[in-house]
Symmetry: none
């Protein structure tokens, strides 16, 4: 149930509602949220991250428009049944591509050796 934990970066240039959309989209794509999974309520998310309910609502509404989520009257949002969101590993790697390219370019601009970057990344990914 709390596999649905969200991470919000308030100082990110990426707007909060889009961060939420992105995270949920990725987790559904990876099959980490099978159809029917209940999402935390708008108010829960808002309280947990000290953000405005409307911001969360905006994210949920957008995901509903994309048919990734469904609204259950009086019960909240759940992952849609026809989860056309689930994708293969190749497609998921593709979804990661922009972030990879961004990292690679920044590393190059910082003149950092490949191995240093790889090491740092591996360490971060093991921790989580």
């Amino acid at each position: 149930m709390d596999a649905m934990k969200l991470h919000i970066e308030p100082s990110s240039p990426d707007p909060i509602y889009r961060q939420i959309v992105g995270q949920i989209t990725r987790m559904i794509a990876a099959g980490q949220c099978p159809p029917g999974t209940r999402l935390p309520s708008v108010r829960e998310v808002a309280a947990a991250h000290a953000i405005n309910p409307m911001t969360v609502s905006k994210a949920y509404a957008q995901l509903e428009t994309q048919h990734l989520l469904e609204r259950q009257r009086g019960k909240g949002m759940v992952v849609a049944d026809r989860t056309q969101g689930v994708t293969s590993m190749e497609e998921r790697l593709q979804a990661l591509d922009p972030a990879l390219r961004d990292l690679a370019r920044q590393a190059q601009e910082l003149a950092l050796p490949v191995d240093q970057v790889i090491d740092a990344l591996r360490k971060l990914m093991k921790d989580s």
Copy 2:
């Protein structure tokens, strides 16, 4: 002279002027632009990337405020002499940290195995 090539991603959530500031900051930090290096003019950059000159100007102004760039009468902007911007590799790795963490989190949300991600990254960094 054209070590100063900039890469702009118009569709990025990161605003354009901040992309420019970030790139130049990183390249100066890595010592890739020794003091005195001339920057392309506002108009050149604007024309090359089909963006508004004001956007470029805003970025340059911000870098001047940070004393990373200096305005030289009739010659445009150059990298500042007292380049307090150059930093050690450790500090540069730290500068990469947000991008690394973002990538790691996205990869985890996508349920991608560490090695797949590392491979993709290594490939990208070799190419460039």
Copy 3:
């Protein structure tokens, strides 16, 4: 330019932003707003109808999502080029169907003779 006049019914059960979406959608479907037509700015619409700019913005954002409108940086919204919104008269009659059925049912519940209703409607449509 002011073919784009909007009509807002604040007391309608249909939310305001949806009224706006509906009207613009219909006018585009009917080809009344050729691609490139500029829409009144968010602030203009908000001021003209004494509603909140965010309400208008929400409508525009939704139309942008449906690719009926495009955003021109700093210049406002315009009707999209690839106006896949334009439809045949048959399809437009179909779009009118819910309103027709609603009217027919209300008339029946009110036990109003067909001709009276038709007369009233004809009169209204001539006036406009």
Copy 4:
């Protein structure tokens, strides 16, 4: 007895309880339900249309407040005796006005010719 058949459109922007109130109001206004007519019970309506009993109850309560319905111990709701709800045809035509105006405006936005709309409406009203 089943002249009191209700039609519910769950996807309508008009909330369900208001649909119920509207229909019953109109039918009483037209004299289609003489005083004393029994209404289907809250449970019957709720079951028949798969809606929440509270929604039906809310509609009935509102009609009772307007003195169009009366609660009879052990017998449920009936149409009120002093049916001040019955109105002349002129008044009933006036009650239809909002729906007529809405239809006319939509038709105009869709650039549909008057005769086409009239034809479609006449066809619908004959069928029912």
